[in-house]
């Protein structure tokens, strides 16, 4: 059933429209002068101000590889992350560690480790699945580049972002 909404009966001075204009201007100019006095909370001025200090601990940014305290690359090229990665952003080419190497007992290491940051969806599965705790999601979020090639993070770049992580997995230490 149609509901008829009665139009409000306007007083003669409401018909003049000018009081409404004054009322409206009071609101808009109120906001304007509040802004001029700096009392309005506005959006963050991004490149100058950043959210970095307020990022939560569980924030998932760019994935990166880490080395341990003996500067050994933690990744043993098991390719579990490559397998689990939903958008298939990770490409690993394993290689054998030569027998005269200090870490020959680890047997495998990645020869190529590429993460295509155009594909990466920051899901964190790689970090979750890694048995060696070699890959971590860091807090870097402004991953930019001017070409597709630039957006592929290779091994050096990944280690540069990742840095060193101490402890956690000790099974390859000399003592054991």
């Amino acid at each position: 059933m149609a509901i008829v909404v009665d139009r409000p009966k306007l007083k003669w001075w409401e018909h003049l429209y000018l009081p409404a204009l004054a009322k409206g201007l009071r609101i808009t100019l109120g906001h304007f002068f509040k802004m001029l006095r700096g009392n309005t909370k506005v959006t963050m001025q991004y490149p100058e101000e950043k959210w970095d200090a307020n990022l939560p601990d569980h924030y998932r940014g760019a994935p990166a590889l880490v080395t341990d305290e003996q500067e050994r690359e933690r990744c043993v090229a098991c390719q579990l992350c490559e397998f689990i990665c939903p958008p298939r952003a990770i490409t690993i080419k394993p290689e054998e560690i030569p027998s005269d190497d200090k870490w020959a007992k680890v047997e495998k290491r990645p020869k190529v480790f590429d993460i295509d940051m155009i594909r990466c969806i920051y899901c964190g599965f790689c970090e979750e699945v890694c048995p060696e705790q070699a890959i971590y999601l860091r807090k870097d979020y402004a991953i930019t580049g001017t070409s597709r090639e630039e957006m592929v993070h290779d091994k050096e770049k990944l280690y540069e972002i990742g840095g060193v992580r101490v402890g956690l997995v000790n099974k390859w230490n000399a003592l054991k």
Binding site: L18, G24, L25, T28, L29, H31, F32, M35, T40, V42
Partner: protein, 359 residues
């Protein structure tokens, strides 16, 4: 002596039109964006230059570098003619506005005509041709609807615009804008008769019709310049972009600039007619007569006073735009023909009666 007059006129045209009005147009675009942002609790463009002041320059470069696209279905001649026809009349009206008293012994008005307001109305109404041609030549439905709306709107409001200043002209008995300003400088602004001869019962009584004509004039000015709450020719929510839907790059920019130029000239005319033009309040630093010599720094102050008033008026224009919703089309037409036309006519009669009674 002839070459001197020509040289002076050329310098005045270059300075007032290209070095003052056009930058003012650019700055008012910037002001519009910043003020609207502040009104809506946003920041607005603040990246290019200090506080975003160079944003208009960036916009201009963008407009110049964009592809100047002409759709296949348009009527080319009129399509190219229309933006120029919108821009040029807006700038032509600069000619009769007195920007200041005198500087270097020269009147600060490009053409000291004795028919100032008539010239402004005659030339300003030519802008409608640009809009009509744009809508017709675009050969597509939204621009056409926009231009039809614009035509009827401008014709309707031109009448009340012209009639609204008749009381003012009756009171001052003068059509030369320079003389009107001088009269206001000595005897109180039209809306602020607080000194000179204006400080009398006659002055106060006459300010009643003057206030009515100011309201009618300003509202009609909003309609003439196609600004909210009367921006039906280009209302984005209904007509995409109205008459300039098919335009891009510099041709669109000309429409845009023409609209803002019209707004600035409108503000200048309102300030000249109702707020004493370049004069300071309470008759400070007022020259004895129109032709009297003015010290150099007085001339500068007068120029500054004029532009301060114009900028305040432009800010009022902007604030109103971001305050009021758009009228419905029938409301717009009713307001123009049923309210303002009669009001302006009645105001003329009221002024005549007051003048007869107070003589």
């Amino acid at each position: 002596m002839d070459w001197y007059i020509i040289l002076a006129a050329t310098i005045k045209i270059v300075v007032f039109v290209f070095l003052v009005t056009l930058p003012l147009v650019a700055m008012s675009v910037w002001a519009e964006r910043r003020v609207s942002a502040a009104i809506q609790d946003r920041v607005g463009p603040n990246r290019v230059g200090p506080a975003g002041l160079l944003q208009p320059v960036a916009d201009g470069i963008k407009f110049l570098l964009k592809e100047d696209f002409t759709p296949n279905h348009v009527r080319k001649t009129y399509y190219w003619l229309a933006p120029a026809l919108t821009m040029i009349p807006s700038l032509l009206t600069c000619a009769v506005i007195p920007f200041g008293s005198k500087l270097f012994g020269e009147k600060m008005v490009i053409a000291d005509l004795d028919v100032g307001p008539l010239f402004v109305f005659a030339v300003a109404s030519l802008t409608v041709y640009g809009i009509v041609l744009a809508g017709w030549a675009s050969n597509s439905k939204y621009p056409f609807l926009g231009s039809v709306r614009s035509t009827s709107q401008m014709i309707s409001y031109e009448i009340s615009l012209g009639l609204s200043i008749v009381p003012l002209l009756m009171i001052y008995g003068e059509l030369n804008l320079g003389h009107i300003v001088m009269e206001q400088a000595q005897n109180g602004w039209a809306l602020l008769p607080l000194w000179g001869d204006g400080l009398s019962i006659k002055g106060w009584l006459l300010s009643i019709p003057l206030f009515i004509s100011f309201v009618v004039f300003t509202t009609s000015m909003f309609a003439e310049t196609n600004r909210l709450p009367f921006d039906l020719p280009e209302c984005e929510t209904e007509l995409v972009a109205g008459y300039h839907t098919e335009y891009s790059s510099m041709k669109f920019a000309l429409f845009f600039l023409g609209e803002y130029a019209a707004m600035i000239i409108g503000s200048g005319l309102a300030v000249t007619l109702f707020f004493g033009g370049w004069s300071l309040p309470f008759g400070w630093l007022t020259p004895e007569s129109v032709d009297a010599e003015v010290p150099f720094w007085h001339g500068l102050i007068h120029l500054g006073a004029f532009f301060a008033k114009v900028i305040l008026f432009i800010l009022f224009f902007i604030a109103v735009r971001w305050t009021l919703p758009r009228f419905r089309y029938d409301q717009l037409m009713r307001l123009g023909w049923v309210v303002f036309f009669e009001l302006a006519l009645a105001n003329v009669i009221l002024t005549a009666l007051l003048l007869m009674w107070l003589k």
